[in-house]
Symmetry: C2
Subunit: 284 residues, 2 copies
């Protein structure tokens, strides 16, 4: 017998992973949550059937969503994570001694519970005393917040389902207001390869540009995400991700990382021509 998990990355492309066994399946108020033990990528959590995180390649996503902004402003003290239920983003943030407090707003408690049970190496800081975890809607949470956070990380699902509201101008404006004067917002920005989600990401980027003076896009190779090629958005009130980047300061922190390094930081912002064009023109 063979057991295979398949993700329909588009209607015409599927990635399939051979599975040892299914470890969990549950239906929360918001989505279906499954856990599989795969041969190639270790344990895999899916949300509504889509890859959220795997043990083997989660370090790439979490390195890139955390260390890029932290190396631009290593003095960040107060951070907010929207989503991020598996705990990987919190884990990486809490490695910085300078971080005083992290608020995390995850809409779906089941994601955190499942991460705690099945992904101990990813969720292991979810009980850190510096972390306050709120099981709330991120969109509602952001309303009326002002001058509170040095960094907001939007670690969301795709712009369909529970994550949809996290790709709107209204939400980005609330984030802008919630940030301190050097505040940085980072979000996951989909793949540029498949048109459906690429369009949403371009639209999100255009919305950010109307609100933040500095908006740039950066990239990483994440094999289990659609196309293996993933983009992130970097928006800031004052700090530019490469011009204000502080490699010496970051390297002095002596953090061991498996994906991020300070040369790669600059390379991550050097996008292929077709990606630059699609961001500028709003279409692929």
């Amino acid at each position: 017998m063979e057991l295979w998990y398949s993700e329909e990355q588009t209607a015409n492309v599927r990635l399939s992973l051979k599975v040892k066994e299914q470890l969990f399946s549950g239906e929360s108020e918001f989505q279906r949550v499954d856990v599989f033990d795969t041969y190639e990528y270790g344990r895999l959590m899916t949300l509504d059937g889509l890859v959220m995180v795997t043990e083997k390649d989660e370090f790439i996503y979490h390195d890139m969503i955390v260390h890029i902004p932290m190396a631009v402003n290593p003095s960040i003290k107060k951070a907010l994570i929207i989503g991020g239920g598996d705990g990987g983003t919190a884990r990486e943030l809490l490695r910085y001694k300078g971080i005083d407090h992290v608020d995390m707003v995850e809409i779906d408690k089941m994601v955190c519970d499942v991460a705690k049970e099945f992904f101990p190496t990813i969720s292991n800081e979810l009980n850190n005393p510096k972390l306050s975890l709120y099981y709330e809607d991120g969109v509602a949470y952001m309303k009326g917040k002002s001058n509170l956070y040095d960094l907001i990380i939007i670690d969301s699902t795709d712009p369909v389902g529970p994550g949809e509201g996290l790709f709107t101008s209204e939400f980005y404006t609330d984030c802008f207001n919630a940030l301190t004067e050097n505040g940085i917002l980072v979000n996951q920005n989909e793949s540029p390869v498949y048109e459906e989600f690429a369009k949403e990401a371009v639209r999100a980027n255009e919305k950010l540009k109307k609100i933040f003076p500095i908006v740039e896009v950066y990239q990483a190779q994440i094999p289990t995400y659609p196309s293996g090629y993933w983009l992130f958005g970097f928006a800031s009130k004052a700090l530019h991700p490469t011009k204000d980047f502080k490699p010496q300061e970051w390297n002095r922190l002596n953090l061991t990382t498996r994906y991020y390094n300070t040369e790669l930081h600059l390379g991550a912002f050097a996008l292929p021509t077709y990606v630059k064009e699609y961001i500028e023109n709003g279409a692929i």
Copy 2:
């Protein structure tokens, strides 16, 4: 009815593309050759069932295997392609007015014939008068060649089957001898994500380092290749790929490219920490 093509990227990972129709299937002396018309990636050529080239993402591979060395030495006049039967590498090389002549040694005539019939936008320079096309074994062809080429591009299949001999020390030594004093060798170097091929690529890299004074690895995101993350090797007798890189000179050539650009050139050599470690340590 649905028709799907699946590549077993490893025993435990498959990429599947939905197919409109199969356009060709043939068995040459060396391998099985198939052509499919896919919904997402346009036409696809497979060799022994593995993705060789698709219309949608071929520009990435061909940009990176050609423009990286050409931007390090835009004075290259004589080039050799080993493999490259679809014609994409020749097409990109022949865009340079400074190139006097390209020799191309493809072991399998069927690959070129199929490219000419089904992939006109890729193979359209295979009849260029500056190109000499030899249907021969690349390993045998290289024997005894001396001081002939400014650039050798090894545009091969994986290190199993017909491509195997193109990953040996003997072959690399023959290439070294065939290069002029500033000569550059570029080869496709597999993905670092899946262990089986990654090991072969690391070994190939170690072999090159014993022969060439300068050996570096660079990267690109190629969605239809295993993991979507692909490496290339750059070996040279004298020129370093980033220190001797000539961005102004290359930009003055005014070549339009959809993937390559001179900022990305530097970024392509900024590897993730796990890849640097696996190249240095010879293991993942």
